[in-house]
Amino acid sequence: MSGWDKEMKGIFDRRGRLSDKEFSRLSRQQRWIYRTPVLKSIFIANAFAMATLLLGIGSLARAIAIAAGNLARRLEARAARVRPGVPRLAETILLLVLPRRLRRSVPGDLQEQLFEDSDRWGLGRARMLYWQEVARYVLKAMGSFLRYGIVAWLLHRTSV
């Protein structure tokens, strides 16, 4: 950018508002541009374009940072949800014998218990206790199956 351009940019960055004293210091060419609305607009528009571009880059960078933060939080939440340790086979067996209305609360309770137990006694023992709870549940389900028959048991299993 030449010295003249810089000077004009300085003038029009102030959106063309010049005092009489400032105007008197302008050269003939500068006065001509200042008085021609189209040319004045171009200079002002350029200044705006530059500012908009800078703001745009800033906003884009901010949006990328927010999106990255959200993605990191989502991945962290997913990792917490599928923490290693829950014996998947035991959980599947449990879901097979549970009535529908308890299919969220009981596995949730057992998972919460597993994490408590693993903090207290270690993951191996906690998993063993998880299996033990599932086995007890299956035995109870088998008991009701033997006592009331398959139809009653299936009705109970699918009850809401």
Binding site: A77, A80, R81, V82, V86, P99, L102, R104, S105, V106, P107, G108, D109, L110, Q111, E112, Q113, F115, E116, E133, R136, Y137, L139, K140
Partner: protein, 109 residues
Amino acid sequence: MGKRDIPGAFEQAMLVAIMRLRDNAYGVPLRRELSERLGRDVSYGAIYTTLERMEQKGFVSSREGGATDQRGGRAKRYYKVEAPGRMALAAAHEATAKLWDGLPDGALA
């Protein structure tokens, strides 16, 4: 109140535990409370079988509540003692009191 409506010992313990836990009466704290009070390990199978039976009798009601990441995003089921449950518990307490009433001091020694 019929004989079948008087809660058994485990049902009574469960009703008391739910009343003690108030707004936090779901599986995990219930198990902890029962194990501590009864002095023995209580399984989730026993807890939920009893809760279901008592819900059918109208002693307790349940609602699904919040989930946490620690539970794999699964909802908790909160239990609350209803009026028939409180009446049954009072009847059981009265029956036990009658049973012990008049026993001479030192009879168990």
